[in-house]
Symmetry: C2
Subunit: 131 residues, 2 copies
DNA sequence: GCTTGACTTCGAGTGGGCTCGAACTGGAAG
DNA sequence: CTTCCAGTTCGAGCCCACTCGAAGTCAAGC
């Protein structure tokens, strides 16, 4: 309907909004090699395909789970090399999965410490009530 | 038995090892007001009491659960003000607890994305097996 | 045809959390 | 008495992940 949305591609601003990153960050990711060079329109402006946006979304999940940008770059390089790296990519994800699980377990333990502390505060408040 | 461990206090190096931080970080925490000024021996060296170490341990849990140093400082300030801030400190912990829970939920979702991806890689590897 | 606003590149700046080097001091072991 | 080690202070430096300002370009709307 709107000629500007024709062709199923998004501008950097639109893509940024979709994936929850800023336009600055999107350009920086490309520059850092986390994203393969994005297609351009006749005026040299980036046009993000659905595939590009999916890739960016995946990157945000990796990032959010604590993967360093360095490792994301390595992953992106593997992906660009095609099917021969499928095994390596899976291994990378499995290793990362294990780290995320460990992190969750750690958070669970830390949560128990917080709970104990909250309890201690409740008891202390009870004792100080009348003072 | 060892005269140097007399008095139940630890040097900065020992304390660092116990809580899993570096001596640099321990001094920096003190400088940043995350830790009240630590007692000194006759030569001006820090001596960490059991209480100091417990406090440091708690700080490491807060840090590990993603609390910014800024908030840890605020918490330390409250603690230094005594019992009148018990309620505020509990509130701070409860708010933080909620954030940690949210973070864990988020990690759980992200984990599902990772699992789907691992699955996709497995299937792709199966398909490429003979090539 | 002019204005507006989102885009472009480039390099510099920011904020968080440490991390370190330099120069010095003091107590314990040989 | 000397050597050594672990401490002291101070300010500077580092790494990460963005974040931004400046100067310019271009297409669309009025």
């Amino acid at each position: 309907m709107d000629i500007s949305t024709r062709q199923d591609t998004l501008t950097v601003g639109e893509a940024a909004e979709r994936v929850g990153l800023t336009t600055y960050t999107l350009r920086w990711y490309e520059q850092e090699g986390l994203v393969a060079p994005v297609g351009r329109d006749s005026a040299g402006r980036r046009r993000y395909t659905t595939g590009d946006v999916d890739w960016l979304f995946l990157l945000t999940r990796l990032r959010r789970t604590g993967m360093p940008v360095r490792d994301m770059r390595r992953y992106a390089e593997l992906a660009r090399q095609g099917d021969s790296t499928l095994g390596a990519r899976r291994a990378l994800f499995e290793a990362h999965r294990a780290r995320v699980l460990a992190r969750m377990a750690e958070l669970g333990e830390d949560l128990r410490v917080l709970d104990h502390k909250i309890d201690a505060y409740r008891r202390a408040e009870g004792r100080c009530e009348g003072s």
